[in-house]
Symmetry: C2
Subunit: 473 residues, 2 copies
């Protein structure tokens, strides 16, 4: 290492040593290991620790001064600026390729224009949802009493909707009284409340690898340490699960049992049993996020059914089968936890969305809803075969053919980088979901998640075919 | 202190020394200064620190063992049980009289039966809200396009609603482009997102004393340290403000400027100027929660207008004047903060409530909405005189007569405890809001907040009159 020369060689992520130093300091400030007013490490000290030249550190510090992140006090050293930067979720954790950042897919999917195609998004096209029932429910709601239209909801949420949810859960073998069920604005908000309830900053949480990308984002927002175990077609790799819980003692495990996101896999009863046994042994609480439940043809085993809502907490939502525009989810947990969760819900969002809950109740009570679900399942089955066949033609191989649902986890031809494909597709107004966004270990470079209900337009296969062809040369 | 005798004398809150010891340990566990598996202080050590007898500590530890909170390892000592209790918001901070716990008023108000009277709640009776407009808006919504009814909202929220909010803010002298405005599910959710964005656990936040009781609950949920300054009829006591920011260096100040909750006071331009000057000097960010804005007759000075959304963040909502059943609020902040806030919103609640935003837009665009606001303001003026006069007859004295709004902060006759009155009123199905729920310093024992729109039923004055009469003997 020669002092006086700023190293311009790049690391694996293509960053110069100077940007590595800048990122390190920025992360310490963001994570508050360096608080406002705190003195930065000396130039020489940091150069030694990071194995870079002192001039690299000087240059990095000077640029951070220019950014306003730190201050220079001549003769004394460098200090964190008093107004610390706000918590930047996108900066927490390892710096990722923007295209596989958990926020990239969310943003691209949510911001996509009406003409854009979204094989990477996680929901059905509006035309698949029960539009007529929703319209009827809105008209019914327009005749509701004044209190329904104007007042805050009760803390747990609309009682008849909670009763109906309890009955529907019973059909999946999960017993819960309506008083164990709390309505939320969404499945995501339910998990967020549970993280507030069960986690302290720095606690460890276990997820599947791959898992729903927003789990990563949500857990970062809670300053949790995230660990993962590989997911197999029958559930988490139980050997890795055992080792990981023993080593890291996570407080929580967040998973989907019935239709796993992104793989579409189904938890086997044997793996369910073993997961619960290990959870008992290591005192692990499990959040079972079951928002795709209604796509199933035959109910798969649920951790919550095996366990009886003791150490398993069950989450559901109506965004996938009814409407994502009307926000309504729920959490079912053991009775002694509901009060604490309700306090947190009131403190952080006050009343729940009463009008939306009434709307959901109206649609669910409508005789046509079960028929609607059957239609969706049938359409998904057909689309699954079609999309599988077409993808295979392009050399894109499903990891497994899911029993139900809209998600298809696929391997691209050898050596092709999914993030690269996603970037190229976005230029042609197609939003895709590259594998590493779902992978804590960043081991899914070669995978892509498809939503078969949004992958029926022939243009997707044309564009994808061309992108793959270009990259095979 | 005599060893061997368990002291049964009570402290100010009526707790025995043993329960004080138990509460201390419970709070350390809840706050994770004692983590799962950690060894508890020795019996003798804790007895010395807490100035109690060793037998008091032994008894407290044994009861905590019985509760499952801690474990005894004979010959070794006492240890925190492995499965730490979930985060109990109601247990954080000093143990309060349940009747002045911030959750008490929320729960009682939100859970009140239809026949109950709620002079203590913070919203208008449904019959005061624009029921007909909401019904019309629901019918309009029932004819909207499929995407509006089924799809997730865009990350910032419905563009035309954000444009309309920007125009309405401009009328109050606050300039913000629609891109600086993010829709949320409520004003509370907006403040919650800002706390996630701007606070780390342990950061200090400044509030008014008294202030809206849910600020206390929300800040506890963020593990913030809360400090307060006395509120005067012209805004925070500026001398106390200067001393407190200098001493505690809070990162945030949360306040209402126009119609202060619970006092109904209005910030004066001079105090606004001084607050902002101190904020500049001590690098303080201010959240101006302006959810009562539309009740004003003439716009009062806003911190956000003086400051131009530089260090002030502005919050609004439609729960108070349109509907609390349809949840919709917003936050306006400087452009460079919006992206980070949006990431947090996506991570913790994914899409916003598009259908509700459309509903709010429909009602606000309805020509009748401004007329509706005028009617509400007029009714509130009339109710204010009536309720003031009737309360004065009972010896209940308004602290000031607010220029607008529904809130009236009153002093009860000398020596009468508002929490005691609230408990007695609840037995007769009347929910009241005792002063100390709003006061960090617990110095409002003798105060009560009335919502004049919900204090028109003669039974309230009969019941209150009798309760006060009983206590004056």
């Amino acid at each position: 290492m020669v002092d006086g020369a700023i190293q311009m060689t790049e690391d694996a992520a293509g960053r110069t040593r100077m940007s590595v130093v800048m990122d390190t300091i920025r992360q310490r400030i963001a994570g508050r290991s360096l608080t406002p007013g705190a003195k930065l490490p000396s130039v020489r000290g940091l150069a030694l620790t990071m194995k870079v030249s002192t001039s690299t550190v000087v240059e990095a510090y000077e640029r951070l001064v220019a950014e306003g992140a730190i201050l220079s006090r001549p003769g004394s050293g460098f200090y964190v600026a008093n107004q610390a930067a706000p918590f930047a979720l996108a900066e927490v954790g390892p710096k990722l390729d923007r295209a596989v950042d958990p926020f990239w897919i969310s943003r691209q999917s949510l911001e996509a224009g009406d003409g854009d195609l979204k094989p990477g998004c996680g929901w059905l096209p509006p035309s698949w949802l029960p539009e007529d029932s929703v319209r009827r429910a809105l008209r019914t709601l327009s005749r509701a009493d004044g209190s329904t239209l104007a007042d805050y909801g009760s803390p747990l949420g609309l009682p008849p909707l909670r009763q109906l949810i309890a009955r529907r859960m019973a059909e999946r073998g999960i017993e819960a009284s309506p008083d164990q069920i709390m309505l939320t604005e969404s499945g995501t908000q339910a998990i967020d409340l549970l993280c507030r309830f069960l986690l302290e900053p720095g606690d460890t949480v276990l997820v599947d690898d791959p898992c729903y990308f927003n789990f990563h984002a949500l857990l970062r927002a809670h300053r949790a340490k995230i660990v993962s175990v590989p997911y197999t077609p029958a559930g988490p790799d139980i050997q890795a699960f055992a080792t990981t819980v023993a080593e890291h003692r996570p407080r929580l495990y967040i998973t989907n049992s019935a239709i796993h996101n992104p793989t579409g896999a189904t938890l086997s009863p044997v793996v369910a049993h073993r997961v619960l046994k290990l959870a008992d042994q290591f005192d692990l609480t499990i959040i079972e996020d079951d928002i795709f439940a209604e796509f199933e043809h035959t109910p798969a085993p649920r951790l919550a059914a095996f366990d009886g809502l003791d150490r398993v907490i069950y989450i559901g939502s109506f965004s996938k089968t009814l409407s994502a525009s009307a926000r309504c989810g729920f959490v079912a947990a053991k009775p002694q936890w509901i009060d604490g969760l309700t306090d947190l819900k009131i403190a952080t969002s006050f009343g729940g969305g009463r009008m939306t809950a009434e709307l959901v109740l109206n649609v669910l009570s409508d005789g046509s809803y079960r028929k609607h679900l059957e239609t969706i399942r049938h359409r998904l089955s057909l689309a699954m075969s079609t999309v599988c066949a077409k993808l295979k033609n392009l050399g894109v191989t499903p990891w497994l053919e899911p029993q139900a649902g809209m998600l298809l986890w696929c391997q691209l031809p050898d050596g092709i980088d999914a993030a690269d494909v996603a970037r190229a597709a976005l230029e042609q107004k197609i939003v895709m979901a590259p594998g590493n966004a779902f992978s804590l270990s960043q081991s899914a470079t070669n995978f892509m998640r498809f939503n078969i209900s949004q992958t029926l337009d022939p243009r997707i296969f044309d564009v994808l075919g061309n992108i793959l062809k270009d990259r095979r040369h």
